[in-house]
């Protein structure tokens, strides 16, 4: 009894401490090596704001797309008895483990100018998706939406279904129940999923550079800017990385404190 209260076993403490170092040390390195003296000038450079703005906008749009499509998908997975549900769940979570570059190639094969759907779009309407901001949003949503689906489905399964049953007995149809009972019930889970999804979209690199290419102002997001800056101007890359780090931390703090509250932390 006393041991449970007091000391943590060394066999757990040591790996835990190493794990912490492993995760935190690289971030410390970023701070130590940052070009602090001319940081202001570097961040005021023309391309930086452009890339940051594009990153924020495209990650937010990708999250909206993921919410509109992902929440209903999670509901279908959690609340219906659709045959082949587990197969469906496996399929829609593939992008979670798929190397993003492969995702980018796959998007080309479907939505590219020569792709299965893209070819028709191009020849019929003259619409070409690759190398546009739309392509950035699509690539990010493709990679990030599974995070939201998994998280919302988990929240739905954990939520007490008796409230929904009660709503149904009181005469509410399924859509009203979903809107008035289910959604408010799992709102913290949806919020947490949206934050995860947004953060993943913000950091997306592989699928974006493959499917959307790299052009300042239209498709060059922060991670792409960091990668290219690293090629010939490492201090600039560090400066850009700091901005991304700051945005990520700020988002986590802000959303956890203000919006998600404690229930999401528990979930």
């Amino acid at each position: 009894m006393k041991q449970r209260e007091g000391g943590i076993p060394l066999l757990l403490l040591l790996p835990a401490a190493l794990g912490t170092l492993f995760l935190v040390l690289p971030l410390v390195g970023l701070l130590v090596r940052a070009p602090w003296s001319d940081l202001g000038a570097r961040l005021a450079a023309p391309g930086v704001w452009e890339a940051l703005r594009l990153s924020l906008i495209s990650a937010s749009l990708a999250t909206v797309v993921a919410l509109l499509l992902g929440v209903p998908l999670a509901w279908v997975l959690a609340r219906t008895r659709l045959p082949g549900r587990s197969l469906l769940r496996a399929l829609v979570t593939v992008p979670l483990v798929l190397p993003p570059v492969v995702g980018g190639v796959a998007l080309f094969l479907v939505l590219g100018r020569q792709g299965i759907v893209g070819h028709w779009l191009f020849t019929t309407f003259g619409i070409s998706i690759p190398f546009t901001t739309t392509a950035v949003v699509i690539a990010e949503a493709f990679v990030a939406m599974p995070f939201l689906v998994v998280s919302v489905e988990g929240a739905l399964r954990a939520a007490d279904a008796r409230f929904e049953d009660a709503a149904a007995t009181l005469g509410a149809d399924r859509w009203t129940t979903f809107r008035r009972v289910t959604l408010p019930l799992v709102a913290p889970g949806v919020g947490a999923g949206a934050v995860l999804c947004w953060a993943r979209a913000l950091g997306e690199f592989g699928a974006t550079i493959t499917f959307a290419g790299n052009f300042p102002g239209t498709t060059q997001t922060m991670p792409l800017a960091v990668y290219l800056a690293l090629q010939n101007d490492p201090p600039a890359a560090i400066a850009l990385s700091l901005v991304l780090l700051l945005v990520s931390i700020a988002t986590l703090l802000l959303l956890r404190e203000r919006w998600l509250g404690r229930r999401a932390m528990a979930a």
Binding site: R113, P216, N232
Partner: protein, 259 residues
């Protein structure tokens, strides 16, 4: 009696072993020193084909040697080297990236130029954008790829655009030349500015269009053994092979010019 026989047998065995050993000591492979183990070559993406072949050739000449390659944009490789990546040889697609490595004092001996390359326009075989020359890169309605200006093929592209007074309107700045070429092979862009060697390597999957302004941006390829090379002998053997008549033949066949 028994002991004597055994000693005699041992003596014969020793002699036989020595006899076996001595001819190999003067075999041709000894002329280039004892080369074995693993040698790591960091090379520009545009060298992928020809260096892979030369690597196999060197492995064939020196059984027990394994040649490992990291092909990427020269600038990415230069950054990795200055960050302490362990490699034996660095071959860059331009002088600028080699300078980054030599300024950091990482070279064992002075780099030597072993090849040069010029830009060429690559279009899909059917040439859907009806591209005929460099001036077409100013057309906003075409989908066009160039290399990012941070990598050598991008720097060369900026040079030829300036020389030709063309205001380029590319849709994407790719992270290396192979990525730009891939977009042509997929048919996703109407044209890309790549190296002549890439067009040659792609065979009939792309069509190449030469243009006179390419002469204003000839890329020189320097190579050097690195100071921290874990396998300096094998590294030198690789550099020697690249600069040998056989190496030059392979480079020329791949579309490079050799000094």
């Amino acid at each position: 009696m028994r002991t004597t026989t055994r000693a005699a047998l041992a003596l014969v065995a020793v002699l036989a072993l020595a006899g076996c050993g001595s001819p190999s000591a003067v075999s041709p492979s000894a002329a280039s020193g004892k080369v074995g183990g693993t040698v790591t070559v960091f090379a520009a993406a545009s060298l992928t084909g020809v260096f892979t072949d030369l690597g196999h050739r060197l492995e064939h000449e020196h059984p027990g040697l394994s040649v490992r390659f990291d092909f990427a944009g020269s600038s990415a490789l230069a950054t990795q080297l200055t960050q302490g990546a362990p490699a034996d040889v660095f071959a860059s697609a331009d002088q600028q990236q080699m300078d980054i490595v030599t300024r950091a004092g990482l070279q064992k001996s002075a780099p030597v130029v072993f090849a040069s390359n010029v830009l060429e326009i690559a279009v899909p075989p059917s040439n859907p954008g009806h591209v005929t020359g460099l001036a077409d890169f100013a057309k906003p309605d075409l989908t066009l790829a160039v290399c990012a200006r941070q990598v050598p093929c991008g720097a060369a592209a900026q040079k030829v655009f300036a020389a030709a007074h063309v205001t380029a309107e590319p849709d994407t700045e790719e992270q290396d030349v192979k990525a730009a070429l891939t977009k042509v092979q997929l048919g996703e862009v109407d044209a890309a500015l790549v190296y002549a060697t890439d067009v040659q390597a792609a065979g009939d999957r792309v069509q190449g269009i030469e243009f006179p302004e390419a002469q204003d941006a000839v890329n020189s390829y320097p190579i050097c053994v690195l100071k921290a090379a874990p396998n300096a002998e094998a590294a030198q053997a690789f550099v020697d092979l690249v600069r040998s008549p056989a190496g030059r033949r392979a480079l020329t066949a791949a579309g490079f010019r050799t000094p």
